[in-house]
């Protein structure tokens, strides 16, 4: 049995329009899955359903063998956390410390233990020097790191990043990606919703949504060799692979090899 199992998921915001249609996929523990899709393809709706923020019309979501429903939602949220797009929308605390504590307070973690975890996870995302600062004094990238620390402090082992880097500048982005990579190496299961193909490249697998349906789900490398998959789902490949996939003659083999090498360097 897989760690995360989504089966036959349907969701509609209004009566006649399904945003998610019969979504089926599973994710193993420790996997890094990038979720791609055009605007309005249902990516964020899927993320909200997976953390129990919305209830699917039909279908089931199982995490670590536990089926998500009204009775289990709080147990599920100990296993899976979400970082949203807008760093300003997820702050509740007066200080960074309060903010990291917030999730744990909801889980009734004892104070002693809470303080320990705040220090530990603030260090992990290198924000230990900012514990007494107000969130408004932080940069977007720092805010997202604090949000991650807050989730990690609840000791979840899955994090969904819902376009969590899209409001950041390239350097804060790279910085945040570095942390995510590290967390993945330490065993965190990552579901990353993104428009940025260069970020998606870091994932082991890609789940491509198109108009609310799973259009493709496979390991990243084999998906990217197929330029039609991307074109048909209104997505773009990285420049290097767009070029590589267009060079079909044998005399370009050395170039193709280097183009793939360029992509995997990241």
């Amino acid at each position: 049995m897989s760690y995360i199992e989504v089966k036959g998921l349907d969701y509609s915001y209004t009566k006649n329009k399904k945003v998610l249609k019969n979504i089926d996929f599973s994710i193993n523990k420790g996997d890094w899955v990038a979720v791609l899709g055009h605007n309005g393809s249902g990516k964020s709706t899927l993320a909200k359903a997976m953390v129990g923020l919305i209830e699917p019309s039909i279908g089931s979501i199982k995490i670590d063998g536990l089926e998500l429903n009204q009775d289990t939602v709080y147990d599920i949220r100990r296993k899976i956390g979400i970082v949203f797009q807008n760093p300003d929308n997820q702050f509740v605390g007066v200080t960074v410390k309060d903010d990291i504590a917030f999730g744990m307070e909801n889980l009734a973690v004892p104070r002693e233990e809470m303080l320990k975890r705040i220090d530990f996870f603030a260090k992990k995302v290198q924000m230990e020097k900012y514990l007494d600062k107000e969130p408004s004094q932080l940069s977007g990238g720092q805010k997202q790191r604090v949000a991650i620390a807050g989730i990690l402090a609840m000791q979840t082992d899955i994090i969904i990043f819902d376009e969590a880097t899209s409001m950041l500048d390239p350097f804060s982005r790279e910085d945040l990606m570095k942390y995510i990579k590290k967390l993945h190496e330490e065993g965190l299961t990552i579901i990353m919703i993104t428009h940025d193909i260069n970020e998606a490249l870091l994932a082991d697998k890609m789940l491509i949504l198109k108009s609310g349906e799973v259009f493709a789900y496979d390991d990243s490398h084999s998906l990217m060799k197929d330029k039609d998959v991307f074109r048909n789902s209104y997505l773009e490949l990285p420049v290097a692979l767009e070029i590589a996939n267009s060079l079909t003659e044998k005399k370009y083999d050395s170039v193709k090899e280097k183009l793939w090498e360029y992509v995997s360097m990241k």
């Binding site: 950041l168 350097f171 997505l235 370009y252």
Partner: protein, 286 residues
């Protein structure tokens, strides 16, 4: 002259918005018409602070900004109608779609013009025109903005500024949060508005691929200082971008990698993947 910065500095006091960065001694000229400018710089470089001076949303702490011949200094001047300046220079903030609040698209777009004491009838006409300019047809008029897609919402909020018919349009990262196709559609739209109206458009962006492909002038900020003002071509050819915490366009990076690893002599300055592909095919590599 549209907007002219004369040695403008802006230092924030600790009580004001802590998210904005200071700028130092910035001098810059922007024509009232025909300009299409990319304003780039890493977070904290001061580009948003610079943009906010462009319609007197904030005042310089040193130096002055001339906006359509009105001189903005540290002190408020009773003779200047700041509202009129804001009508001449329209500023679209980052993620403007969060600021839609009316129950229909048309009402939202009319909100600005109505604030400038324009009759309801006229505001309506302006709004419908603006809606067309952003590529949405009249059927959108009565729709609820909340039920639109991210890209559509962005267009509606941009239409809200266009409805005030500003001479200069300043947009803070209008393409962020959009999928790649949506980004291109929006950039084409700005180009189209620029071509049809000759309005000066200034776009803040992080996306160097877009800067290279679409713009004729790039203004670069770094740590509060204006460090470059010129064509994107010479910016990428002649300047060390890493010093300014900026990245190169992907085409340049990819072709440079090929040159280095395969000892080739490709001209790396290609703006699109198609151009890059042609350059490789021209070399006829074995």
């Amino acid at each position: 002259m549209g907007i002219r910065f004369n040695e403008v500095s802006h230092k924030y006091s600790s009580f004001s918005d802590g998210n904005l960065s200071a700028i130092y001694q910035v001098s810059l000229k922007i024509k009232a018409k025909d300009e299409f400018i990319a304003l780039v710089g890493h977070t904290g470089s001061g580009k948003t602070t610079l943009a906010k001076h462009m319609n007197a949303l904030i005042f310089p702490t040193e130096g002055n900004v001339e906006i359509f011949n009105k001189i903005i200094t540290k002190k408020r001047n009773r003779d200047i109608k700041y509202n009129e300046i804001r009508k001449k220079v329209g500023l679209v903030f980052q993620f403007p779609e969060y600021q839609l609040f009316e129950e229909t698209v048309l009402k939202d777009i009319m909100f600005g013009p109505l604030n400038f004491h324009i009759s309801k009838e006229e505001a309506r006409n302006l709004a419908i025109n603006a809606l067309k300019l952003v590529g949405l047809d009249e059927s959108y008029s009565n729709r609820n903005p909340y039920n639109l897609s991210g890209g559509e919402k962005k267009r509606v909020s941009i239409a809200g500024i266009l409805a005030m018919d500003p001479d200069i349009l300043v947009l803070d990262e209008p393409t962020s949060g959009l999928d790649p196709a949506g980004k291109r559609v929006l950039m084409e739209l700005f180009k189209d508005i620029h071509k049809r109206t000759n309005k000066t458009i200034i776009i803040i962006t992080h996306d160097m691929d877009l800067v290279y492909e679409y713009f004729s002038r790039a203004v670069v900020m770094n740590e509060g200082e204006l460090v470059y003002d010129g064509s994107p071509e010479s910016l990428f050819k002649e300047h060390d971008l890493s010093k300014n915490h900026l990245d190169y366009p992907n085409t340049i990076k990819v072709l440079t990698h090929l040159n280095k690893t395969l000892k080739l002599n490709l001209n790396v300055y290609q703006k699109t993947a198609i151009d890059a592909l042609k350059e490789i095919e021209k070399a006829g590599i074995l």
